[in-house]
Amino acid sequence: MTIQDPKTASEIASHVEEPSQAELKAPRRSALMALGWARENLFSSAPNTLLTVLAVALLVWAVPPLLDWVLLKATFLGADPQACRDAGGACWSFIEVKHRFILFGLYPHDEHWRPLLAMGLFLSAIAISCDPRFWNLRILAVWGAALPLCGLLMWGGLFGLSFVGNDKWGGLPLTLILATLGIVLAFPLSVLLALGRRSDMPAIRAICVGYIETVRGVPLVSVLFMASIMFPLFLPEGMTIDKLLRAQLGIMLFTAAYLAEAVRGGLQALPKGQYEAADALGLSYWQKMGLIILPQALRLVIPPIVNQFISCFKDTSLVIIIGLYDLLTTAKTALSDPLWRPFYIESYVFAAFIYFLFCFFMSRYSQYLEKRLNAGLKR
């Protein structure tokens, strides 16, 4: 603005003044605002006031003892069980002593670097898979390299690595393997089941409905029992299938049935016009599904799919009933040392913390994915 008339000049002056006044008033104003906020949000009505008082009472009752136990009365590095008992708080030195057993189970102590490295590789492959830019053939290359390497590290028997049978595997690597492979293998199967359930072909539809309803009708525990105890009875004499493989298949087949229903929800939510437009253009069934329907349907059901992933991750702890040493089982077994037996809370908190890290990551990732995939989609 080049023309100066008195009015604009005074306006400008007042604008310049205003911030300095605001600055002066700032502390008092923010205190007032906090009070106002509290009145509006915490004490707006009698029930609201009551809830606020109850919430504060709960915090006063719960937080100090918790803080005492976790930090103030806790014992950390190097404390022996007696010192722990004397202190009365959490005994974090239990984790220090037992963490390798909890993380790696019965895997030979001197070789722990192998499952550690394998887990690093495995997690890196998962991290890469989480990036939508890799959702093409490259992802197969990543897993094609990562899985044999992990297998080599875990089993050994080559290149001077001593052989470790998978009956010795345990802890976090076992949980990760069961959950990840369970999810990764269940996903394509679930898509096929969902498509089959909506197929025009009665035989295929009947098979898929039968499978989904049967598997959903029984608890995972019984599926694992069947896989572990009943299944070998049907095999010819002398033929055995590895216990870990059986558990893996059980988890995969179980998860697929649940996932299939989530996927079906997405297929049904799409407007009929999308199917018709794809048909009218002459796309074949698989082109229609692969290019038009599934990309949209799966986006719609990211939340229930990830829900199922999280559920599957935690359900792997049920393999305890067929004698596999997953993370929760090793946390429990670590307590069989008579010296450290009283510190079961610490052990379970440690395992819970690890479960939480993974589940929380999945939950956040699903939110990121939803945002990113819907970025271009304004309906």
Binding site: P271, G273, D279, A280, L281, G282, L283, S284, G376, L377
Partner: protein
Amino acid sequence: MSDPVILLDQVNKWFGAFHVLKDVSMTVGKGEKVVVCGPSGSGKSTVIRCINRLEEHQKGRILVNGIELTGDVKMIERIRKEVGMVFQSFNLFPHLTVLENLTLAPNWVKGTPVKEATETAMAYLERVRIPEQANKYPGQLSGGQQQRVAIARALCMKPKVMLFDEPTSALDPEMIKEVLDVMITLAEEGMTMVCVTHEMGFARTVADKMVFMAEGRIVESSPPAEFFSNPKTERAQQFLGQILGH
């Protein structure tokens, strides 16, 4: 007239117990423009949806380009390659850009290389006058623009016939003209067209034949000049009176 592009012979269809199409017969010759009209529920949309097998007919014969529509999936896919369709609700693929909407079918169904399919797609976007929207998503376009993209998408398959199923019924009034203009241009270029529409002005301009349906039957079939000035049946007179009356 040479062999008809579309031939319907005594076509019957039921939705459950409801008899939607009753002995519907008609032919559409090469380059002919047929407008199908009639009150709602008369079966006019169902007729054109039978032509590319979005609906299955139970009795009678349908031939498209000399190929008979039966349960044979291979034949259905062959016919769909030759027949373009435009829907009332556009039905663009919302997860793909405008350009991807246009190149997908030529690329996957006909095996046209992406580069060539893209050139064709841009040429058609030019013709429906929205080349600048090529990289947007359908959700970012207005209804009229979306419908023009849908027309371009069907044209990219280089069809022998275009079916229009009430293409302007879902549009705001001010957008109807831009879509009809595109359809008129297409008609002038000699495309064979079957349109279900209530746009009688459009029908008068482009139609070679008016087909009037009521209660699942073709009640009247005549050139537009005759149909509009001198409808033979009472039903058609009633219908025209209702839609032209105000």
